[in-house]
Symmetry: C2
Subunit: 512 residues, 2 copies
């Protein structure tokens, strides 16, 4: 299937065709803008009590371990050092250590710590260096501090991490209109990870009405395999998914996990996509339990087996009236464009999607299928693509369903309001209109894991309908003129394709 698609996207005349259609979509929007900009604005001005500031926005892609900004983390660390210096926070070689002793062992005075010495912010040094970027998760370069402050498993059972997340949640609740979907990790290293994570969540009450949780699975089987932690890839999948099937079938035996799963809305697949992998996934590939060598399975292999398991699990849960999960992998941030093929077949929506820039056929398919893309241009700016070269504006104009997200406020943002910083910079650099911004915000709610009830409240009760009918301007502040334009353009494009296929069929029938 994937190979078939890879063939489909690589045929020259198909590339030209899609390229022309995409150009047409871009030009059509430009024309729409020139003709209707003022009418859209007028429509928005007439909406009482609703503007860009009080439409709902969801940060659709953010990692829990970097969801606070650098200054916030610094302040939190200093606060714990000031108020709990004598608390035992770690155990090293059997010896218990207080917070004070931990800092002494690192030759640091917490009072002197600064954002500079904390050194968690991405800079020019991280561009095209995912390894250096990953190292930035260690405050002051010390993995001890990452363990203590940014992990769920440690001597304090992740208390500090829970507390700082709850502070972030508190700010969101105060802001009232912002929601976020932080990622927590399940590695598939051992079968008890889920129970530990669920215990952490329940024990520290990490719940917030403004947060929906996503589980990210790093694609690092090769590391566990080379350390002989896992015998084969099948075991990794088992560690990730078996506990979920069990908690679904026997909730009473897995109360905490069962409870926690009510707040989990999806799965993400994460890692550096630019790492090359020369295995080509096909029906000749080894099955997961046969995948015993140290080489990492390719991106498509990971996605296929995650997708398969999530579907099975969803069916089971749906039967029992339980919540289901979306599959929302990182995709197209870097590396091979075939990743975007895998996600096109398996994912509900994706994060990044930068590489759609490079394939007109895929970009056109993502448009036609209206697959949502959570973009993070500030993250890309520090890692893979300069801000001015980001395709976000172009994608948005053509009608791809894009939202804005922060990825890692700790590493990329400067102000206290990371998501607003993201919107502000996009608005300023690309001169986006209020209608553009509100369209992005609406997209973010649509693609998020918020409940049907919440989406009805935030977007209007007909939000699942297409076109202007599905838009309640008094809640979204998106002009109906814009909604109509988007809907008509998509319908035209689809009927244009249908006509072309019909005439091709006739042509084929006549020639037979």
């Amino acid at each position: 299937m994937i190979n078939l698609y890879c063939h489909v996207i690589d045929v020259s005349h198909r590339k030209s065709y899609c390229h022309r259609r995409l150009n047409f979509l871009g030009s059509k929007f430009n024309l729409h803008e020139m003709l209707n900009e003022m009418s859209e604005l007028k429509e928005l001005k007439s909406v009482p009590h609703r503007d860009f500031y009080n439409v709902r926005k969801v940060d659709t892609h953010i990692h829990a371990a970097a969801c606070m900004n650098q200054k916030h983390l610094l302040r939190f660390i200093k606060h714990t050092c000031r108020t709990e210096p004598d608390r035992v926070v770690a155990e090293k070689n059997g010896k218990k250590m207080t917070l004070k002793e931990l800092f002494e062992s690192l030759y640091m005075d917490p009072y002197d710590l600064t954002v500079d010495s904390l050194d968690v912010h991405a800079g020019r040094q991280t561009f095209h260096r995912f390894d250096k970027f990953n190292a930035k998760y260690n405050p002051v370069g010390a993995s001890e501090l990452r363990d203590l402050y940014l992990k769920t498993e440690n001597y304090l059972d992740g208390e500090y991490f829970a507390r700082i997340i709850k502070e972030v949640a508190g700010e969101l609740e105060d802001s009232k209109y912002q929601y976020t979907e932080p990622r927590l990790s399940i590695y598939g290293r051992s079968p008890d990870e889920w129970d530990i994570l669920a215990k952490w969540f329940i024990k520290h009450k990490v719940y917030s009405p403004h947060m929906r949780w996503i589980i990210q699975v790093p694609r690092i089987f090769d590391i566990f395999r080379s350390k002989k932690i896992l015998p084969d890839f099948g075991k990794m999948l088992e560690n990730i998914f078996l506990p979920l099937f069990e908690a679904t079938i026997n909730p009473s035996d897995h109360k905490e996990l069962y409870l926690f799963l009510n707040y989990v809305t999806g799965f993400d697949s994460v890692d550096d996509e630019s790492k090359h992998n020369d295995h080509m996934f096909s029906n000749k590939s080894p099955t997961p339990d046969q995948w015993t060598h140290e080489q990492n399975p390719p991106y498509s292999y990971y996605l296929y087996y995650m997708y398969g398991n999530i579907m099975l699990l969803n069916n089971l849960r749906r039967e029992r009236g339980m919540s289901t999960f979306l599959f929302r992998p990182h995709c197209g941030e870097a590396g091979s464009i075939t990743h975007l093929v895998s996600a096109f077949i398996t994912a509900d929506n994706i994060s990044h999607g930068l590489n759609l820039k490079k394939s007109p056929v895929l970009q056109y398919l993502y448009y036609l299928a209206q697959i949502p893309i959570a973009m993070s241009p500030l993250s890309n700016n520090s890692l893979f693509l300069e801000y001015s070269k980001s395709p976000l504006r172009e994608f948005l104009h053509k009608g791809l369903v894009v939202s804005l997200s922060t990825d890692d406020p700790m590493q990329f943002h400067y102000t206290k309001e990371a998501l607003m910083e993201e919107y502000a910079i996009a608005a300023q650099v690309w001169k986006l209109s209020t209608c553009d911004l509100c369209e992005i915000a609406r997209n973010s709610v649509l693609q998020s894991g918020l409940s049907d009830k919440e989406k009805k409240h935030f977007l209007g009760c007909n939000y699942t309908k297409e076109g202007p009918e599905g838009n309640d301007i008094s809640r979204t502040n998106v002009a109906q003129i814009r909604m109509a334009f988007r809907y008509e353009t998509l319908c035209n494009e689809l009927s244009f394709l249908a006509d072309a296929m019909n005439s091709a069929d006739i042509h084929l029938a006549q020639s037979q």
Copy 2:
């Protein structure tokens, strides 16, 4: 003098020479950066307790009537309508109006007001349209609301304006490290403007340790003259400056003004620079009392007479041990590059300076004289020059003394922290390093009207000295490596020029 300079900057070989020197300065900085970036970072990491967030930053160019963000103004308006609907706030044709009646007369329900209907934010429609931009100062397009909320003279004696400014001041005081220099207008329309302004300031206690006041004089003599409010330009100057001389000579007769002047640190000259004026200021120009026609005097004429009066006033005040004033006009935002010549001769520092881009000779002179420039790239982005084309990064790298300022948060910014938004966007788009940001912040304190005592506290007690000696890294977080580079580069440039002049003299002497 101005004409001489205009000649100086327009000679071809001189242009080439300056262009080459500026290119050299740019390349030299690039080299410095490549070689010393990590060393600078290391120096900054070793500074205890000081980072970009807690170095002092001054918003060096901001207009009081737009110093709050749009959301803040909206909330303030709604708050007054909710809490004081029956208060008399205006008088129209002899009839007193309550706040409720005022909104009714505008056919508006304050509850329905949004940022969109408020319509004070600049957008794509304001680009190259200073007239449309000026109209944005009217909330909901109604000058009645501008009068009530953003003016010092009205039925409430400017109470609302004072209150909202004090709210902004309160936020700055909370942030602790941010200062601002808002502009208040004196028009020169009548001699009692100063007394009214001073009374407003004293009555409402608009004082904040985080604000220093600048008086802006709009260059709109032509409007007053055509309305027959003023007989000649001399009268306008008299209205602006005579009250200041009187309050300086007889403080006890002008207590409020005398008091207010202690918080005023400078003068600004403002208006749309792109308006063409064909009068060429020379010694043949009419004197101010002879300038009776309706045509507006040119930029240089305004600057010269403001400068002359400020100098006289400063001398008088210095003699009496009183505070003196800086002259900090808007200059080089648009229009003729000769404006930059006028300011080079008369100003302490300027706002904008964009047009230095167009004249290598002037740019080089501003570099050699180290004349500070308060730049506002987000303002320019909405009015005169797209963000990506802003010369700020280039100026900074070459060693021109630039600071960052917001100009009009109400019209240009999205977040609650306008100055931080300005720094964040510059840092992201131009990938500025922490050392770059802290250098800009240091420049902003240096060029500001903060007192010597404050500057010592914020920059170090030797701040007036040149080079690394004048930098206290524990307060500024600017690497000494950077300071040394700047100092050596400037000294080299000056001695290179001195050598060239000497050899030219010898050459001249030999040929005589």
